[in-house]
């Protein structure tokens, strides 16, 4: 088993699926000769040809729109949007077409596409390169939304996304691309697209997060463990459809929940999880739910971005408050 970082795991998953399913094609800006600005597609054009690894002109609307035409006609396009801040021009096609082609034709046509994009901050990138747009997609019926948090899960979830017969938005935390390595078997095994992953068991509090924030969340759990507080850590991973059951079961045991995400708080996807608890877990809650999130402000440029991002310190403080609550 090779030690891979997250971006290499993405690359392996793409390569595996392209080798095993000739319907898979990649398209996006600079993904060919250049191998993608983050190198997620490095070597793939050489291996699979220019026709299957398509360097497109600079036009995100058409990247999404042409991918829909391809998907409806039997291809399995995997489109890359170069940075999260440039994903918005794809929304019209995702919402009005990709997410509903199957429904509106009563299953006659389908839209098995994957839209990949880096997301999140923390790498001191230029303006518009550090966004967390997941909540734009989670209210859209017909879309699946996935955010991996480790090389292994990135590999297995991306394979699952490519094999899913319907459209999937796949957001890759930029900060994790090269943050750490992990042994990943390149065996073509997909992970399920609708269960949360419990990364750490604990009995005192449930920490729920996804993407890059798992890194801080796990670090916070370590720190809390040193103080004798046992935190259970759940990686939501597949935001939509949401596996609320795993979260409810955990909170039923711990009685406390802190949700951590990088996107702005109001209307962020953390709200959906808190809402699920208010609806279905109320009697198990011993303390108010807390959200540790990005603030409801514009993502600052590099000099202040670390103050925008939830820190281990903020997570630990929120857990302490949760524990102090009756």
């Amino acid at each position: 088993m090779a030690e891979l970082n997250l971006v290499e795991a993405i690359n392996r998953a793409l390569a595996w699926e392209m080798a095993h399913d000739e319907a898979v094609v990649l398209l996006g800006e600079d993904i060919g000769v250049n191998g993608g600005v983050f190198r997620a597609t490095v070597g793939l054009q050489e291996r699979f040809g220019e026709d299957r690894v398509i360097d497109t002109p600079l036009a995100e609307t058409a990247i999404a729109g042409t991918a829909i035409g391809m998907a409806a006609m039997g291809l399995k396009p995997v489109a890359e949007i170069q940075f999260s801040g440039f994903i918005y021009p794809t929304l019209d096609h995702l919402v009005n077409h990709a997410a509903r082609l199957r429904n509106r034709t009563r299953g006659r046509l389908a839209c098995p596409l994957v839209l990949r994009s880096p997301c999140g901050g923390g790498i001191h990138a230029p303006e518009h390169h550090s966004e967390s747009p997941e909540a734009m997609f989670t209210n859209v019926p017909g879309l699946r939304v996935v955010v991996p948090s480790s090389p292994g899960r990135a590999y297995g979830l991306l394979l699952a996304a490519m094999r899913d017969p319907d459209p999937v938005v796949f957001l890759e935390p930029t900060r994790l691309y090269r943050l750490f390595r992990q042994e990943v078997a390149d065996d073509g095994e997909a992970l399920p697209l609708d269960v949360c992953f419990t990364l750490r068991a604990g009995s005192d509090v449930t920490l729920v997060s996804w993407g890059a924030m798992l890194h801080e969340t796990l670090a916070a759990a370590d720190q809390l463990a040193a103080e004798g507080v046992m935190a259970e850590v759940i990686d939501v991973a597949t935001l939509k459809p949401l596996d609320l059951t795993t979260i409810l079961e955990s909170v039923a045991r711990t009685g406390r929940c802190v949700i951590v995400h990088e996107a702005a708080r109001t209307g962020g996807f953390g709200a959906e999880i808190a809402a699920g608890l208010a609806e279905h877990g109320l009697y198990t809650l011993l303390a108010p739910v807390r959200r540790v999130t990005g603030y409801d402000i514009v993502m600052p440029l590099a000099r202040l971005e670390m103050q925008y991002l939830p820190s281990v310190e903020r997570i630990v403080a929120a857990v302490r408050q949760t524990l102090e609550a009756s």
Partner: protein
């Protein structure tokens, strides 16, 4: 200063408004028998439009967009396609859809507010009607790419309006398709209006065909009320595309003789007299006069045809009105290939509150 590029836009017409022909006619039009099915399809569309509007007025159909005066475009284009080609319609393209094999009853179902109207039993790969303006051009370019990649001898054909040529999707897709040399034909139904916005306020460009120059592809203009010109231009573009010659943009000049849709009242923004004048150019009388002049048509055949078409439409309407309403479950059926477990409770909730009769008439 040096001139580094030169471009021209050509306009073609074979049949004058009174039906007189410019010789030589293209091959296919020399045999009047090949024109008669086109005539029939145009008449069918017009009669269907009349019926659909009547159904809407009596509460039996939802908002409907008629093709009045523009029948030659859909019929001319679709009749130039092979069945294995793929058509990507806008909401005003039922003329083409009928030629492609979409049934009248399916069309009524769609406009009646029932998704089953897009589950065409006929042209299995044709796209459903596209309402968000110009987005279908992107899908068409992608579909064409798929055909090219798999070396299938198929062409993607889409129709869009004059208004649609203002939208970014159109330019982006045209640019992609040009680079890909994808087998794509884009036909602009320039009916001079985008709801209340006249063509002159849609773009300062002299022609819409010249927008092809932005992508470096062929753009041409035809008289969109002349079915011979439309069919001929479409056939050439489609066969060029099939032979690897890449995309073409065809601007078909016509006029929207009716309201934008049944929800619109065009007298608010345009002069009835100006519309009246345009009746002199409409495509059905033009072809009829042409056929009559060639002794290929008669009053008897006309009556016979209208009678047949009337019966066909009546049967479709009957079928439409007799179609059982969709069930509540149907809302959840094709959301994904398999309903996610997370949605089971919502489905149960919907069923618990479902009225006994299922859906209601739109």
């Amino acid at each position: 200063m040096a001139t580094v590029a030169r471009f021209e836009v050509e306009f073609t017409r074979y049949l004058e408004p009174d039906g007189t022909a410019h010789e030589p006619l293209p091959e296919f039009a020399r045999d009047p028998d090949r024109l008669i099915p086109l005539y029939r399809a145009m008449q069918l569309t017009r009669a269907f439009d009349t019926k659909a509007i009547a159904l809407q007025r009596t509460g039996k159909l939802g908002t409907f967009a008629s093709a009045l005066g523009q029948e030659a475009i859909g019929v001319g284009v679709a009749s130039a396609m092979r069945i294995e080609d793929v058509f990507l319609p806008s909401y005003r393209d039922h003329a083409a859809q009928f030629v492609r094999g979409v049934t009248l009853a399916e069309s009524l179902l769609y406009w009646g507010g029932d998704e089953r109207g897009s589950a065409f039993a006929g042209p299995r790969d044709d796209f459903p009607i596209c309402v968000p303006i110009a987005t279908q051009v992107c899908h068409a370019a992608g579909a064409a790419y798929a055909f090219k990649l798999r070396a299938e001898a198929r062409v993607a054909v889409c129709v869009l309006g004059d208004g649609a040529t203002s939208k970014g999707d159109f330019y982006e897709a045209m640019n992609f398709a040009a680079l890909w040399q994808a087998p794509l034909v884009m036909v602009v139904n320039n009916n001079q209006w985008a709801i209340s916005v006249p063509r002159t306020r849609q773009s300062a460009a002299r022609t819409l065909a010249q927008k092809a120059i932005a992508a470096g592809i062929e753009g041409r203009q035809v008289d969109g009320n002349d079915i011979v010109a439309v069919h001929d231009a479409a056939a050439r573009a489609i066969e060029k595309a099939r032979d690897g010659g890449g995309p073409t943009l065809i601007e078909a000049l016509t006029y929207r003789l009716g309201d934008h849709t049944t929800a619109d009242d065009a007298t608010r923004y345009r002069d009835a007299a100006a519309v009246e004048e345009q009746w002199a150019f409409e495509p059905i009388a033009r072809l009829r006069n042409h056929l009559l002049a060639r002794d290929a048509w008669s009053r008897e055949r006309e009556e016979q045809l209208l009678h047949e078409i009337g019966a066909e439409i009546d049967a479709a309407v009957e079928h439409y009105l007799a179609t059982p309403l969709p069930t509540t479950e149907a809302m959840f059926e094709h959301l994904h290939a398999r309903l996610p477990a997370a949605l089971a409770a919502q489905r149960a909730e919907a069923l618990a509150f479902a009225p006994a009769q299922g859906g209601d008439h739109g």
